[in-house]
Amino acid sequence: MRTRKINLIIIYALLTIGAVIILIPLIWMVSTALKTEAEIGAWPPTLIPRNPIWTNFAAGWKTQPFTRMLINTFIYCIGAVIIGGFFMALTGYVFAKFKFRGSNFMFIVAVATMMIPTQVIIIPMFLMMKNLNLLNTFFGIILPEVVNGFGIFLMRQFFLTVPDDIIEAARLDGCSEIRIFFKIILPVSRPAITTLIIFIVLYRWNDLIWPLINTTSNNMYTLPVGIASFQGVQYGIVWNNLMAVSTLVVIPLIILYLIFQKYLIRGIVLTQLK
């Protein structure tokens, strides 16, 4: 699309205004992290703190066992990526490349599950976890929604683009199905898998509900659960701690985004080509 220079300036101007609006709450977040409680509640509000207290980040982090929670969150993300990623990729592959009775129906069910609001299944899920003795365990938190319609849908769309002939050739060579998956399909699908991983991590890193409900001891908490405890309404929110830790918690995701943004776009492109 050819655009004249003046159009370009207008477009960029609008987008910059948009970016400023996007940034204001984020700037507020970081600036609140650096303030004293007194300055936060004072009027008129200041966007830039008078005396930024850079040690608030460390201080906020120390108020709770956040390092333990960080480790827990890592484990949940990795667990969800390994279990969910693998099975969703496999399932998506089968839906894309195999024809069998009930495949339509099963795929529609998988897609339909994407629309289930979490509130609907919280109590039954909790009861199930309790009956399976999975409460307060790593699996108990990873398993709900570990395989979900979104990932299956994404992977299926990608695998539809993989040409059939290489698979056929491998079959003719006597390769077993599972070996085909590991040796041929997976290497080709690196961008799509990366996309899937990023989506899973984005969801799990910030997920509050399942870790909140499924844990019964402080040492199994994840970062979002820990952050939520800054909001005990009884004594009001400790704003600088809350914002300080929230800022810290966002940084890994931003780094992940920056590193993988090339893969991300490539991954989504490939799922659309068919």
Binding site: R2, Y12, L15, A19, L23, P25, L26, W28, M29, P45, I83, M88, L90, T91, V94, F95, A96, F98, K99, F100, S103, N104, I108, V109, A110, M115, I116, P117, Q119, V120, I121, I123, P124, L127, M128, P144, V147, N148, F150, Q157, L160, E168, F181, N206, L208, P224, I227, Q231, W239, L242, S246, Y257, L258, Q261, L264, I265, I268, V269, Q272, K274
Partner: protein, 299 residues
């Protein structure tokens, strides 16, 4: 894009298919479908004095007469339509605008993505402060610019638009990336050919961009519907369904009746109805998109 099943050669082993698909589908079934069935079962009971007691269709009868329930369905509709259309339109235009090389475009793209990286809960708490009608910086800035104060989430008329606004803030970056990817699959030659033929911007947009973006559009559409349920966190933090019932959506009503008032049976009944509505909508959507399949190719 073929939404339903692509054609496959007929001589592939189906037994393998079943085996390979079973762990994934099993996990899906056990941890997503079974709880729903369980929820369906609970809708015919109610939680009284510590035990689930069978009450038949009583919950559904209560819901029929319950004004708040019907209001919540309307509000859900209001919110979903109100958020999906701007979501798609705004993020598409941002993607088109930022689909360029250069450091500035890349910086802007990253900025638009930042809200996606923040958890809903934190984003809601931040916006709750920023939009506080009396001491928040949004109204402070408006005051400085000599505009009147806005009630935001504490105003009967502004509450729902406020929720739509903050949802857009949170998710536009996500959709933008999906559209960026989609835009990059469209060969530049099409646009060049079109402009040689004398097509203006709108014609190019309508006849090249939109049809070739159909897969992305569908993806964003589905994703935005899913994300529209995440409204729960915003409501929980900022409005609690109020003021009045202006932001009482069904998903929040389920939480309120179930968790705050221990009416688990009633909450499950609401969930069942909601799921049925969603199911009908999904089937309807799929029919719609199947129809468009044949218009796919343009040239």
């Amino acid at each position: 894009m073929n939404f339903v099943i692509a054609k496959k050669p007929a001589n592939w082993k189906t037994k393998n298919a079943y085996i390979m698909i079973s762990p994934g589908m099993l996990l899906l079934f056990v941890f997503l479908v079974v709880p729903c069935i369980y929820a369906l079962y609970i809708s015919f009971t109610e939680f009284k004095s510590g035990a689930f007691v069978f009450v038949g269709l009583n919950n559904f009868k209560i819901l029929l007469k319950n004004k708040i329930f019907w209001v919540s369905l309307l509000n859900t509709f209001y919110y979903t339509i109100g958020v999906i259309i701007p979501s798609i339109v705004i993020s598409l235009f941002i993607a088109m605008g930022l689909n360029r090389k250069g450091g500035y475009a890349a910086t802007l793209r990253t900025i638009y993505f930042l809200p996606v990286a923040i958890s809903e809960a934190i984003a809601a708490v931040i916006w709750q402060s920023v939009l506080n009608p009396d001491v928040g910086i949004a109204n402070y800035i408006l005051q400085l610019l000599h505009f009147p104060k806005i009630g935001w989430y504490a105003d009967f008329n502004w509450a729902m638009p406020t929720l739509i606004m903050v949802s857009l803030w949170k998710n536009v970056g996500y959709y933008m990336i999906i559209f960026l990817a989609g835009l990059q699959t469209i060969p530049q030659e099409y646009y060049e050919a079109a402009s040689i033929d004398g097509a203006n911007w709108w014609q190019s947009f309508r006849n090249i961009t939109i049809p070739l973006l159909r897969p992305s559009l569908f993806f964003v559409y589905i994703t935005s519907i899913i994300f529209s349920f995440r409204i729960f966190t915003w409501i929980y933090v900022m409005t609690q369904g109020g003021p009045g019932y202006s932001t009482m959506v069904t998903v929040y009503y389920i939480y309120r009746e179930g968790f705050q008032r221990s009416h688990f049976g009633l909450a499950s009944a609401i969930s069942t109805i909601l799921l049925l509505i969603l199911l009908v909508l999904i089937i309807f959507q799929m029919r719609q998109f199947r129809l468009f399949k044949t218009e796919e190719e343009f040239r």
